[in-house]
Subunit: 197 residues, 2 copies
Amino acid sequence: MTAHFELGQPDWAMEALAQLPEYLPDIQARMAVVIRFSRLNIEFGTGGPFAAGVFETLSGRLVTIGVNRVVHHQCSSAHAEVMALSLAQQTLASFDLGAQGMAEHQLVVNWRPCAMCYGALVWSGVRSLVVAGSGAELEQLTGFDEGPIHPDWIGQLEHRGIAVTDGVGTDAAIAVFKQFRDSGALVYNGRQGDSIV
Amino acid sequence: MTAHFELGQPDWAMEALAQLPEYLPDIQARMAVVIRFSRLNIEFGTGGPFAAGVFETLSGRLVTIGVNRVVHHQCSSAHAEVMALSLAQQTLASFDLGAQGMAEHQLVVNWRPCAMCYGALVWSGVRSLVVAGSGAELEQLTGFDEGPIHPDWIGQLEHRGIAVTDGVGTDAAIAVFKQFRDSGALVYNGRQGDSIV
């Protein structure tokens, strides 16, 4: 039986990260970089059209940007948010990005997180979430399924002290989903082998 | 920046897995083994009181049993279910445990999955979920938070063709949570540094 598994970034992502400024003070700029990574991930053929960045909320210090790696790693949990949060936790050597003595952290994603990543962000310790959009466009354009997310997802996050900002860079995010749709690439929802009921 | 992260089983788990029969036809027996792993994980000090097993539903063939590794790996996503599902996917070389041509798989967990693992099991391709319980006992006894899970969590799973069986081995699962509570061990909910609102 398998004792370990390793998840990681594609080489282009590490090279692109090394070229980025240390700080991105503006949330528009943070989202623009995240959306660029979502586009590069499909252009390099390294995963689905999703990226997520972890930043220090106030300073905009870039901790990391992760991309979707489900197919490459044969791991259905390797969504962009799980990658970014896990890599950030490794970088900062803490399973809690909201630990005492640590700057507040923010998760920036190119659409509303799916049901799994929604829970993952709660446990990660981030104090805020910025998304490009939260409507049906993602599912309609790409065929990806967001799953059974809590109907009051924003209220539940805010109740836990996690602030939500929606609608940052919506058009640019949608343009990548359209590019993905037009590419005919694999949509790897779980139980692909069966009809999704 | 960190390019990779690795998550894995403690040594005792690999040794214990090697001692188990190849098939556990009865779901009571599957749950008993999972609960034993949840107990061993706290007794060996290798994680929280949680374990999850992946089995072939009909035959009971054991694919793997994963345990909670959040603190060891400094990774808030390293819950037992994510560990088990990811290790099973590595073992079977598929991100979809419900792929065409594959036997149906079942996830057996020593309590209702948290909000994140709930989503993770949907994407994993398992066709059924067996839990020891789903009530407030876990949160009340251990202090762990299950997060904002969908209010109709069972209905949402069944709508997606994932059958749910609750109440298998409840007393034995609760006994481990009491053992954990009495041990005074760390409860590592995200944002431990701050009061959970």
